[in-house]
């Protein structure tokens, strides 16, 4: 953790009890199994992975919507992992979030202005005319008109709602934004405008961002650094250039080669098509979690869980069979 680090996550873990009832406990779902990363000022870390890999849980843990089972979350040097709700309240001025679903993330019974301005009241930042002024200001900033403050969420389109969600997050002037799949529910044509807005605002306000998405293309477009998750663990993390240009983990490679490219000419590229499904996080395979699907798996992979080790240049990978002669 360097002095300029905004967020530093260390060995973060979260497990859920699943199934079972009053009489028996049927199992533990290890949603996040020891995740560590840093985000610097003005930096966007893209967190990618397939559904169920735990990337959203990481976001929720950082927002304290879930309580971590173990590990530390340093926000500007303060470990918020163990903070009570009350103690966390002032920290929510430093970290804010944007949700995936533009429909359910806005209270349908509140006006747009009230939704966006609520934090001002809660944190006693502003009230009355000052509050209205500041809400109007942020409205303009996210590309909405101030005269839309009295409208209700259902009167906005999906893209506009996501702008409201952004405005709500930004009104307390946070340093870090956790954006959990902020565009995946939007149509392509709308998605672009929200991505553009996010990038613009990030630059203007000097925000740090954790950008959680399953869409490799979008992550590549917005992130400075990228972390790839598989079954609750980060398997590879590094600069965008390294991850997309020279991925070291077989899973990252497979993921990249699986993304359909919107260019018919790219059809004939070589592809790694993984076999089978992601194993259940309740009962992950021994050794490397990816070994069941890995085309390069060896004996050691079936026994030992690989650590996330640096390979130089801030790039880290968790693989026994590092891929020096990448086929890419």
């Amino acid at each position: 953790m360097t002095a300029g680090t905004i967020l530093s996550v260390r060995d973060l873990r979260k497990s859920f009890d699943v199934g079972g009832g009053l009489l028996r406990k049927s199992g533990t779902l290890q949603a996040v199994g020891g995740v560590s990363f840093d985000i610097g000022p003005g930096e966007t870390l893209g967190l990618v992975g397939e559904s169920g890999c735990g990337k959203s849980t990481v976001g929720k843990l950082i927002m304290k919507l879930h309580h971590p089972s173990d590990g530390a979350i340093f926000l500007r040097g303060v470990n918020i992992a163990g903070l009570s709700r009350r103690a966390m309240t002032p920290m929510w001025r430093k970290v804010q979030t944007i949700f995936q679903d533009p429909y359910s993330s806005l209270n349908p019974r509140m006006s747009a202005g009230a939704i966006v301005g609520e934090a001002l009241t809660i944190h006693r930042i502003a009230s009355g005319a000052e509050k209205t002024r500041r809400v109007a200001e942020i409205f303009e900033k996210v590309g909405l008109r101030a005269d839309q403050m009295g409208r209700f969420p259902h009167e906005f389109s999906g893209g506009q709602r996501q702008r409201l969600s952004i405005a709500r997050a930004l009104i307390v002037e946070p340093e870090l934004i956790v954006a959990d799949e902020p565009v995946s529910a939007l149509d392509v044509s709308i998605q672009a405008s929200v991505i553009n807005l996010l990038i613009r605002l990030q630059k203007e306000m000097g925000l740090s961002m954790l950008f959680i998405s399953h869409d490799m293309s979008v992550v590549e477009h917005v992130s400075h650094r990228v972390a790839v998750m598989y079954l609750g663990r980060i398997v590879e993390i590094g600069s965008r250039r390294r991850i997309f240009g020279d991925p070291q983990h077989p899973y990252t490679r497979a993921l990249l080669s699986a993304v359909p490219v919107a260019d018919p000419a790219a059809r004939r590229r070589e592809r790694i098509v993984l076999k089978g499904d992601v194993p259940s996080p309740i009962d992950p395979p021994p050794g490397c979690h990816f070994q069941t699907r890995c085309p390069f798996a060896q004996d050691i992979c079936r026994k030992v869980l690989p650590d996330l080790l640096p390979t130089g240049g801030g790039h880290k990978v968790a693989c026994h069979v590092r891929m020096p002669d990448a086929v890419a």
Partner: protein, 352 residues
């Protein structure tokens, strides 16, 4: 990307084109809602040829799914109905066939798979039952024969231990497996046409790759024609031979996949392509802006006059606002419904 063919060159010779299997002509499908009657599909025409993959692409509300359901005769009536047009298959107009005759075709000659494999299979019936019932319906096989055939089909879509899994229920499978099973069901009577409605949208990208590969293999081995409905330009680029682009119930552009991606002739198509971040093409963060299409897809009960895209179109002129552009075959088989198609191509060349 680079343009490999000149704009004027004819893309395809009718003589070399395989025979049409399914022809949709001026299809209109309406829905009655509280807000009024909405034409979800309004005068759409296209042809699916022997052995090809035709992608129907568009955003939500474009009418692509309704088109596929109309072909299958699966529009819920009420509130929907086919208000006009024809769907010709094997010399017969499917929109005029009675229920019995349609039943003989469905799942037999024209099969369909859906977006959500989890909800598209009946949760209370075993996989075996759901696989065999269609086979028995169309082939008259005995239960035992049908099961054997089902096992065979499951093997073809790479389901491990198929005999055992026949007795299991949908909740015991993963999404990717279920989609394989859906495909197995669809292919079990060797249909000539497979309609795949967003078959991979609900799936993770690595699973999507598996399914797309499977569909390509099946096309290669069975020679079935595939109508692929999707909103994902990436999937289109990977899979399609030809593409139909839909917007607000209309076909706005049609052509070979290379042409569509290289030289879109409709501003909407162009906008969509430019809005998409393409893997491996990104510069510095914030260095390139994605193209934005302003506004939203219009409601079907409240469409703008003239061109339906006019209110969101950068090229829009008074003519666009006043007159609906006809869908015209301008350049061979690559055509679009736009007054300004010709102004587009050079612009595209310039930016790419």
């Amino acid at each position: 990307m680079s343009a490999t063919k000149s704009i004027e060159a004819p893309n395809d010779e009718p003589a070399t084109r395989p025979a049409p299997v399914l022809e949709v002509r001026d299809l209109c499908t309406e829905f009655r809602t509280k807000a009024g009657v909405g034409r979800a599909v309004d005068g759409v025409s296209f042809t699916l040829h022997e052995g090809e993959i035709l992608a129907i692409v568009g955003e939500s509300g474009s009418g692509k799914s309704v088109t596929s359901l109309s072909i299958m005769g699966l529009i819920p009536d009420p509130p929907g109905r086919i208000a006009g047009g024809s769907v010709t298959y094997g010399g017969r107009d499917l929109t005029r066939l009675d229920e019995k005759a349609l039943q003989k075709l469905r799942g037999n000659e024209i099969a369909m798979i859906f977006q959500e494999p989890m909800t598209s299979l009946n949760p209370v019936l075993s996989i075996g039952r759901q696989m065999t019932e269609g086979i028995r319906q169309h082939t008259g096989m005995s239960e035992a024969e049908a099961r054997k055939h089902a096992v065979e089909m499951m093997r073809r879509v790479s389901i491990p231990a198929p005999e055992k899994r026949l007795g299991e229920y949908p909740h015991q499978f993963s999404g990717g497996m279920l989609q394989r099973i859906m495909i197995a069901i669809a292919m079990s009577c060797s249909p000539r046409v497979l309609i795949a409605d967003e078959p991979t949208t609900a799936l993770d990208v690595t699973i999507q790759a598996q399914i797309l590969e499977l569909m390509r293999d099946l096309r290669a081995t069975t020679g079935a024609s595939i109508m692929l409905i999707t909103h994902d330009m990436g999937v289109v680029a990977e899979m399609a031979d030809r593409v139909v682009v839909m917007y607000a119930g209309r076909k706005v552009e049609e052509g070979r996949v290379e042409d569509i991606f290289a030289r879109p002739r409709h501003p909407y198509t162009r906008g969509l392509l430019a809005a998409l971040p393409v893997l491996g093409t990104a510069g510095e963060v914030g260095g390139t802006q994605l193209n934005e299409i302003p506004g939203v897809v219009p409601a079907l009960t409240d469409l703008p006059n003239g061109c339906r895209f006019s209110d969101r179109c950068a090229l829009s002129t008074d003519k666009c606002l006043a007159e609906d552009p006809p869908f015209a075959d301008r350049v061979g088989a690559h055509s679009a419904a736009c007054w300004h198609s010709d102004r587009l191509a050079p612009t595209m060349e310039a930016t790419s």
